[in-house]
């Protein structure tokens, strides 16, 4: 076996056999270096094992639970996010389609303009014309739809509003309720 001092760690942790313990103690009686080392290590062990556990400031649990509620609310919102992105993509696509539809009749003029001034007037005139027609068409469509559907839409609309309010209440009002727990 190597130097007897190598048994010191096991000795400190109480993991030596009776024979090994005797063997080391014999050595400690004559070796000042190992004695000093053992004493220093015991002192460190004592200092650390007597050091108290440090507690957080009061109200730690409430602070954790408040952060948890915030994080959960954010997580719920991110679950809705893909749907929002999809809706906005569809709307963008529709908008692009209608812009393309607006530009289509002017395509020949845009491709071969007679003169820039003429083109400018032409564009302005057509824009006004199209917008007026479009606005008229939209208002007609809207009033016709609403007139026909309003009585039937009213109930689903109320439910939707109620549902949204409940979602809001769950996300926003729940946090302080959890805090009190």
């Amino acid at each position: 076996m190597a130097h007897r001092g190598e048994l010191i760690p096991a000795y400190l942790d109480g993991e030596v056999t009776g024979e090994e313990k005797e063997w080391l103690e014999e050595h400690l009686a004559v070796c000042a270096h190992c004695r000093e080392e053992l004493q220093a290590l015991e002192e460190v062990g004592l200092l650390l094992s007597e050091a108290p556990l440090i507690s957080p400031r009061p109200g730690f649990t409430a602070r954790v639970m408040a952060r948890l509620a915030q994080r959960e609310a954010r997580r719920r919102l991110t679950r809705v996010a893909p749907a929002l992105v999809a809706v906005s993509l569809i709307l963008t696509f529709l908008a692009l389609l209608s812009v393309a539809g607006l530009l289509l009749p002017w395509w020949d003029t845009l491709a071969a303009p007679a003169s820039l001034v003429n083109l400018g007037f032409d564009l302005l005139l057509r824009f006004v014309e199209t917008s007026t027609t479009l606005a008229q068409a939209c208002s007609f469509l809207l009033s016709a739809t609403l007139g026909a559907l309003l009585p039937r839409l009213l109930l689903p609309y109320s439910f939707l509003t109620l549902g949204l309010m409940m979602v809001w209440a769950r996300l926003v009002i729940r946090a302080p309720l959890v805090l009190k727990n």
Partner: protein, 201 residues
């Protein structure tokens, strides 16, 4: 031990309830383990504000990873493993950032946190802090888990991905470094006091 067994049963009930979405049950787990986790973070990071944040983050991570917890394992070891890895990560990140407190000017500007720290510092606590500071993060973590959290070398090995033998030898090396540090501290303290008494010219 009957108490530990009963506590363990209660604890696994809380974990089950928390998994079912009862936040009150999770709050009980936080209440039970806040000191163990905070102490680990405080001893690792040596800053009350950082320790608070790291301890909170540990519980948030535990909540989101609760499904991966194996009930055959001790809940405390699982939780302390999350805390330990988080603190080591923070220390690594801290190497690349400069804290205001590292700038000497910052020490003179007495902020709320500094005052709070002044109050809670006692001589002995300060000595332990200075000693732990000498250790590299991995060794410091072992010492904390061994002495304050009462984990065995095998449990520490599980947390750190090391064998029991490796933990024992590193722990011993850490203890020797601490002993060396303690000796130096005491020597410089006695040197200071003899200078104060005028024994040394």
């Amino acid at each position: 031990m009957p108490f530990e067994e009963a506590h363990g049963r209660e604890e696994s009930g809380w974990v089950r309830e928390a998994l079912a979405g009862h936040q009150g049950a999770f709050a009980r787990l936080v209440e039970s383990y806040q000191t163990a986790v905070y102490n680990l973070a405080y001893r690792m990071l040596e800053d009350a504000g950082d320790a608070e944040d790291a301890a909170q983050e540990t519980f948030l991570r535990a909540y989101s990873q609760l499904r991966s917890y194996d009930p055959a394992r001790k809940f405390s070891s699982w939780l302390l493993a999350i805390a330990a890895h988080h603190c080591i990560d923070r220390l690594r990140r801290r190497r690349w950032t400069i804290s205001w407190e590292d700038i000497p000017l910052g020490r003179n500007l007495s902020t709320g946190r500094n005052v709070e720290r002044e109050v809670e510092r006692k001589e002995e606590r300060e000595e332990i802090r200075r000693l732990l500071e000498r250790l590299p993060p991995d060794n410091r973590l072992m010492v904390i888990l061994y002495y304050w959290n009462d984990l065995s070398c095998r449990q520490i090995g599980e947390i750190m991905g090391l064998g029991e033998g490796a933990v024992k030898s590193r722990l011993h090396r850490a203890r020797r470094m601490l002993a060396q540090g303690l000796r130096e501290e005491r020597e410089s303290a006695s040197c200071r006091s003899s200078v104060a008494m005028g024994e040394v010219p």
